[in-house]
């Protein structure tokens, strides 16, 4: 019940942003249809979903919501859970909205096989889970200001890292590397669980 209350609060708080996001998506949908780049939409959806999560933390922080929330009969664990569930709803919601759209567009243009398309979804979802898993504990521990720096790191480390990977690719078989990607969803899920336990621990130690 209290988990639902917290989620309701977050969605009421974000409603305006989410509405704006949906209008923007409708616009992107049309453009992507014309240019036949629907997979890009999924990536957009994920970026926006993660932005909403950050916004939720920022709003809470600005109003010192957590100080008040901890005077209410709500378990600290539930407060942490609510943010993970919010992140999952936003990400999964974002993907679900576009799934039929991407599917039909793909059928029409029939670019890739269904299996490839599914693999693409799973890959994107895994990346999103990793993103949630990294950001939430750091937002809880350091707040959104310092947390943002970590997001930059998350974005830029892979960028710099890609040069590094390219160097390795010369020595490692590409197919071997691709086979690891199949395990990514499992890895992401385990990472999410670990992240949750770290967040709960950090949040329980927190003073307001």
């Amino acid at each position: 019940m209290t988990l639902r209350a917290l989620l309701m609060k977050d969605f009421l708080m974000l409603s305006k942003q989410i509405k704006m996001m949906l209008i923007l998506f409708a616009f992107f949908m049309i453009i992507s249809l014309l240019t036949d780049m629907t997979i890009v939409l999924i990536i957009f959806a994920l970026i926006f979903a993660s932005l909403q999560l950050t916004t939720a933390f920022a709003f809470d922080e600005m109003s010192k919501w957590d100080k008040y929330a901890n005077t209410l009969p709500i378990d600290r664990k539930t407060i942490v859970q609510s943010k993970y569930v919010l992140g999952l709803i936003l990400v999964v919601g974002g993907i679900l909205i576009f799934t039929p759209f991407v599917y039909f567009s793909n059928e029409f243009h029939s670019q890739v096989s269904l299996l490839e398309l599914f693999k693409g979804f799973v890959l994107v979802l895994s990346i999103a889970l990793i993103y949630i898993s990294v950001t939430i504990p750091f937002f809880i521990k350091f707040g959104t200001q310092k947390g943002r720096i970590i997001i930059f790191a998350i974005v830029f480390i892979p960028v710099f890292g890609s040069g590094f990977i390219q160097y390795f690719l010369q020595t490692i078989d590409v197919n071997q590397l691709m086979s690891f990607i199949d395990y990514l969803p499992v890895g992401a899920f385990i990472f999410l669980l670990l992240s949750y336990f770290v967040s709960v621990k950090w949040y329980e130690q927190k003073e307001f």
Partner: protein, 295 residues
């Protein structure tokens, strides 16, 4: 009879401040004014009571139980008001009720909207569009709408005009109509406390200076005003605190230990607070020094 709040030897060390063995008791059915200057430790104490800060030592009991024993049930019987409304700024009073009804099983929507109407808080206005007075009134309506048994108020009236303050005090007095209800009310606006408090607890530099019933303070304590020379005649055991100002000395005394021949004034809580905080503590030494200087 169990107490609403019972604090024993509470200790909390922060970077540049500490609470030193804070102890006091708030009996059920009473209002306690928690006074002290800014930075005296009022908020730190309240945060420790609510477990927002982890205490380093001591015992805190609410309704006879420690927080860790039954946190959720204790918290569902408390209403808290801070000096600001800590809800996301783009929410409205109406939206707040939607999810608060899911936080408290006994949330009373009709009472909440009744309070909003009574206090003239617009339910569809976003929080960031409300004045400070309106925000505080909303905060109080939220704190009361699950019918708590104990209100913990941290400076709820600071920065508000006298009319809004009076409205708010009336709401608190209404709340006290129930015998079981209690209030811990921290404030440095002592006149508000004089109006409604039964007990006054005075904290200074992280230490409790006294915890007395308001009537004892106002009727058993008295202020004597005069020169250093004249003060020599006051019985030393009657003196509680002393302060020097441009007119001479102001001495807080126990009324019944001073002969009726002395002209005594009824103190206000503010005067008592000022004499304690800004006064001298070594009376005998002070008087001797002044007298020897005069010679």
């Amino acid at each position: 009879m169990t107490n609403a709040i019972e604090i024993q030897k509470l200790r909390k060390i922060l970077h540049s401040f500490q609470l030193k063995d804070v102890s006091f008791t708030l009996p059920k059915g009473t209002i306690m004014g928690f006074v002290g200057e800014n930075g005296a430790g009022k908020t730190t104490t309240i945060k420790c009571i609510l477990d927002l800060l982890k205490k380093d030592n001591g015992k805190i009991k609410l309704f006879g139980k420690e927080m860790h024993e039954d946190e959720l049930s204790i918290k569902s019987d408390i209403g808290v008001v801070f000096d600001d409304l800590h809800f996301p700024q783009n929410l409205t009073a109406k939206k707040i009720s939607k999810f608060m009804a899911k936080v408290f099983s006994n949330w009373d929507d009709s009472y909440y909207f009744h309070l909003l109407t009574k206090l003239k808080v617009q339910e569809n206005k976003r929080i960031n569009e409300l004045s400070r007075g309106m925000k505080m009134k909303l905060s109080i309506a939220i704190a009361l709408s699950h019918h708590p048994k104990l209100l913990i108020l941290d400076e709820p009236t600071s920065g508000l005009d006298p009319i809004v303050r009076d409205e708010i005090l009336d709401i608190f007095l209404d709340f006290m109509q129930e015998e079981e209800h209690s209030i811990l009310f921290s404030s440095h606006i002592t006149s508000d406390l004089e109006k409604i408090a039964d007990y006054i607890t005075f904290i200074h530099e992280g230490k409790i200076l006294f915890c007395e019933s308001k009537d004892t303070l106002l009727y058993d304590y008295a202020i004597w005003r005069g020169t250093v020379e004249e003060s020599k005649d006051l019985p030393s055991e009657s003196i509680l605190a002393m302060r020097e100002n441009s007119f001479g000395l102001e001495i807080l005394v126990k009324r019944n230990e001073v002969s009726k021949a002395f002209h005594l004034y009824k103190p206000t809580i503010e005067e008592i607070m000022l004499i304690y905080v800004r006064g001298v503590h070594d009376f005998a030494g002070f008087v001797d020094e002044r007298l020897s200087n005069a010679q």
